[in-house]
Amino acid sequence: MPTLQNLTHLDWLESEAIHILREVAGQCSNPVLLFSGGKDSLCLLRLAEKAFRPGRFPFPLLHIDTGHNYNEVIQFRNFRAKELNERLIVRSVEDSMKRGTVVLKTPHEPRNKHQSVTLLEAIAEFEFDCCIGGARRDEEKARAKERIMSFRDEFGQWDPKNQRPELWNLYNAKVHKGENIRAFPISNWTEMDVWQYIEREKLDLPSIYFAHKRPIVRRLGAIVPITPLTPKKDHEIIEEIMVRYRTVGDITCTAPVESTADTVHKIIIETASTTITERGATRLDDQTSDASMEQRKKEGYF
């Protein structure tokens, strides 16, 4: 039998996350877990297993599909949901576009911000009262003040001045019809914690997290992958280099980093010595303005 030897910060973080998930299950009548196939949401699934097995999860999984995803990630998403025998709901930004609720300015523009519309539509359709997400406070400064249970009004808006004080481990997920809670069980985790947890739990990940050869161009100091959605510009020269993704999201605004790390352990070593933040390296859309995440959150982004 295992002993209590060597309990680490990961055990504490895991225990906190399990506690939060169980509070959601205990307090909310119709929660949902946002699952993209990305590393943070894969951690959430493992935490949900630890929180609720041998029972079924007391919530379905929901993916808001931008239509701009890497195939590997979508396949992995489907595979993992099936493996867990849990219900996966997919709602797509493209359907919102057909309905006319999402209007693009340019055909190939990033769709990250449009996810908010589709998410709010899904919340209304299923009457979800809580969305569990894998956001972390270390990701971005608009997140540093985020609650573990974050209150959103009827329009899905986050008002930093109207958040509930959160004391001890007493969470308040009570809402009226139409209002919504976003619950973030891994709020207190850093990127490093996530990678260490993935290693410890031997979690499988979509292949694009690991170093692979990919055609890219270098544009304004960033590495831009060449895909049907992100073609090269005339004067640009395509290179094939070893890269990996630190986050997976909309293809048009997620850039890989140069890396030869092809195992979780090598990624941890790289993460420990990296000099650029996760979003700084890979999210082309956060750089537009110092406060662009804050802006998106106010509009209902999770």
Partner: protein, 425 residues
């Protein structure tokens, strides 16, 4: 690092002080010197520093907040920051320090093991220092570090430092801060990085530990952690509808060990029903444990089939607490809307909820003078001793004996917002 303790690999601390005391610079310095700040963030800060006409990088910008706050030049809220040393992980709760932000201080303090109380060496012990110390005591933070900052501005004068320490010690005695609490002093210059992570060159007369040395050796404890076993049930797992017939009779009681520990074979009592049974098994995911300790989230299986639901509390049978419907507590009012003494509120205590009615307000603590005042009603940031009558019994301990089972929040029944925080006497 203790190997028997889930928390010692993680320490949560808060910083108390205003921007003028160099609080943001201190946090920036801690993050910078522990190599937590990465180049793109630094580049941003460099740009902003230049834009504001500063010669060197202003480390306080690391903790610069939301656009909404920058526009108004205020800090609205507690921000959480993270760093790690080789030894452990740290979570900083950065709370704005002005009087009107008492609620933020109480929020930040509620999860902290240690409070850094910042004093500007030029100014010494101020009213706000007393206020911060009183709140740290009220919320039961077991370790206090008094950081005497801006030593560079008083030419690193040892005598002045000593006299501030003496002043503080005198005050600490007055409010009985030193009872069951450690208090340590460090002279520092956050601006120059002296005695934060590195010792620096300037404070040669000080032989004690640096701030980080203190953080590294502080134990992550809180009241009641190792004492009586308390297990509020959060969720009951009954997968009887599952395809697996072996699970037909499975009843798992899911929750977090709030204090103490439990082992397989221990005799337990469920409250408020007082049913008794024995622990058959303890599970964490697919691992079976002999014993679960405080702060571990586990699933407990019992020998007997008894009816238990969310909100019940499992304790050891050789221990006793009486479910009660009357509570006397220190309450911090958190809402802009004053308490309406005629209304009913909801109280959330562990995983349990009850309607509550105000019985009486005994007194309010004036956090400037620490004197008691008689008040008719609670307004935002008020701290008062209050008596409530509850509709449902709760299983509580005094807050000073148990940080988990002694705490509750107050929820407005119509808005559902969290409007108050209570600590049971």
């Amino acid at each position: 690092m203790s190997q028997q303790n889930i928390q010692d690999s993680l320490l949560r601390f808060m910083t108390c002080g205003s921007v003028d005391d160099g609080k943001s610079t201190l946090i920036g310095r801690l993050l910078f010197d522990t190599k937590t700040i990465l180049t793109d963030t630094l580049t941003q800060i460099e740009k902003t520093s230049k834009k504001r006409g500063m010669a060197a990088i202003d480390l306080s910008l690391i903790t610069d907040g939301l656009q909404a706050e920058r526009e108004q030049g205020i800090t609205i809220d507690v921000a959480y920051r993270y760093f790690s040393t080789g030894k452990r992980k740290y979570i900083i709760a950065d709370a704005p320090g002005h009087e009107q932000y008492t609620r933020n201080m109480v929020t930040a303090a509620s999860t902290a093991h240690l409070a850094i109380i910042l004093i500007d060496a030029r100014k010494g012990v101020l009213t706000q220092t007393r206020r911060h110390s009183f709140l740290a005591k009220l919320v039961g933070i077991p370790h206090i570090v008094v950081a005497i900052n801006k030593m560079d501005l008083i030419d690193y004068d040892e005598n002045q430092y000593k006299s501030i320490c003496e002043d503080y010690e005198k005050f600490a005695k007055e409010i009985k801060l030193s009872e069951s609490r450690t208090i340590e002093f460090v002279p520092m210059s956050a601006l120059n990085g002296d005695m934060i992570v590195a010792r620096g060159e300037s404070i040669h007369w000080y032989q004690g530990p640096t701030l980080l040395d203190i953080l590294e050796k502080t134990t992550a404890d809180y009241a009641g952690k190792d004492k009586n076993f308390r297990f509020p049930v959060q969720f009951v797992c009954r997968p009887h509808a599952s395809d697996d017939h072996q699970l037909h009779d499975f009843r798992g009681f899911m929750g977090r060990v709030e204090s103490g520990s439990i082992s397989v074979g221990d005799e337990i009592t469920v409250l408020p029903s007082r049913y008794k049974s024995k622990v058959k098994s303890i599970q964490l995911g697919d691992i079976t444990l002999n014993k679960a300790i405080s702060e571990q989230s586990v699933t407990i299986l019992l020998e007997d089939e008894i009816d238990i639901s969310r909100g019940d509390m499992i304790i050891k049978s050789n221990d006793a607490i009486e479910p009660t419907k009357n509570i006397n507590a220190m309450v911090c009012w958190l809402s802009e809307t004053a308490m309406a003494s005629s209304r009913a509120y909801l109280i959330r205590h562990t995983s349990r909820e009850s309607k509550a009615k105000l019985d009486k307000i005994d007194f309010k603590v004036n956090i400037e003078t620490l004197g008691h005042e008689i008040i008719p009603n609670l307004n935002m940031n008020d701290i008062a001793q209050v008596t409530f009558k509850l509709a449902q019994p709760i299983m509580m301990d005094a807050y000073q004996d148990n940080r988990s089972t002694g705490a509750f929040i107050i929820i407005d029944e119509s808005t559902y917002h969290t409007v108050g925080a209570g600590m049971i006497d």
